[in-house]
Structures are given as structure tokens and as C-alpha cells.
Subunit: 98 residues, 2 copies
DNA sequence: CTTTTAACTTTGATGGACAAAGTGCTTTTC
DNA sequence: GAAAAGCACTTTGTCCATCAAAGTTAAAAG
């Protein structure tokens, strides 16, 4: 059967994949840290983040460090579930290919 | 470090990913079998196949079954290497996310 | 011969990725 | 306290990719 039938369309983008993967291991990550880890422009990152937010896979927290604004992102339950599902589909595909 | 830095751009498409994954386990696969396994339109499949061919990741054999034409596809050495590299990058990302 | 099948190519619409520039707010530096 | 810089975007515009649908060519089946 179809080895790619269970892949999630949202995670076809390498950047969104990267965001999710970072947020799986770090409870909260700032915009700037994501930007540096993934080596993308801020505009590009922002648009992928908003795609993920619209899918309810991540959520935003606008906080402060002292008096300075600090926006952080974290994964939602739904996001964790969806991402794990995607990883399982990838693993199945990898297993299929060996 | 960047968890997605080693992903191969060619394999960001689910269909190309599927083609490669099928060709990893089957020596030769016909156009029609690919089409059915991946559930895509023929035009769409053809264009992805030609992308993979231009990257020298797959090669085409135009043969016959009796007198009837039969086109099959197979993976190249370079394709196998590139795909394995991509799978390793995916696995690294998955490991990173857990 | 007409229809069907295979394996495409062409066409055209849609949408996504991306960089660059602009924005508003705040903080730091001189 | 004015200027510069940083943060977290939004807007704009370009380019490219995806995809379906229709057209094409050749061969085979009915």
C-alpha cells in the first residue's frame, strides 16, 4: 500500500518540521532562538509559525524578561499528537525502505 | 544545532519521497504500479519522476512485455546514497525529538 | 475501425516559500 | 534625550512548485 499516505501535509515544510522538532524537546523557545537554530529570516519564520499556530499545533506566549518583551512558543497537545503521528509515518516509511 | 540542516530539498515532496521509498525495496517498478501505489494522477507522477531523473536519482527503462511497451523505473547508486542520507537526517531529527 | 491503455507533455490555475523592506515598540548607547 | 539597535512581527512582491485536466502518440484489444 501507499507508503506516504499517513504523512501530514503541514509537516512537508522543512522549517515547520524544524520548529516542531525543536519544540518537542524544549518546553519554551523564543522567536530569536528558533530563528538562529533554523537559520531563517524572521519574516519567513513568522509566517511558518503562524501556519502552525492556525493549525493549533503550537501556541504563543508573550512575556517579559525584566522589562523587555520576550515571545516564546510551545507545542500544544494536538501538536504533539500530530507530530508524533507524522514521525510514526516517517518511521514506517523508513522501515519500508530497508 | 540545526535539526533540519541535512534534509535533502528534493525529498521535501511527499510524492518523490514515496517514489524513492518504493524504489528502495523494488528493483524495478512500472509507471502504472507507482501511480497506483502513490494514488496520484499520471501527469503529476510523470513530472515528479522527471525531477528525480534530472537529479540522477532514478533511471528509466523502456522495455516491453511481449509487444507492449512497459516503462519501468529504478533507483541509481547516487539516488540510493542521497535517499539514505536523507533518511539518516530524518532519523537524527526524530532522535532529537524524543 | 473504434475504444482503451500506457506514458507521457502541455496548459493553466493556485498556492507556497522566501527575501526584503516597512512598522511599532522598547531598550540601550552616546 | 536623541539616535541606534533589537524584537517580533506584517506587508509586498517575486518566483517556483504542485496539481488537475486535457491533449498526444503509439500500440493493443475488441
Amino acid at each position: 500500500m501507499n507508503p506516504i499516505g499517513n504523512l501530514n501535509k503541514i509537516f512537508e515544510s522543512r522549517i515547520r518540521l524544524g520548529v516542531m522538532s525543536v519544540l518537542m524537546v524544549n518546553e519554551e523557545v523564543s522567536f530569536n532562538d528558533l530563528k538562529q537554530m533554523l537559520e531563517v529570516t524572521d519574516g519567513n519564520l513568522a509566517s511558518h509559525l503562524s501556519t502552525l499556530e492556525e493549525s493549533a499545533y503550537i501556541k504563543v506566549h508573550k512575556g517579559f524578561i525584566g522589562r523587555k518583551t520576550n515571545t516564546t512558543y510551545s507545542i500544544t497537545k494536538a501538536g504533539e499528537k500530530a507530530f508524533k503521528g507524522h514521525l510514526a509515518a516517517l518511521e514506517a516509511m523508513i522501515k519500508f525502505s530497508s
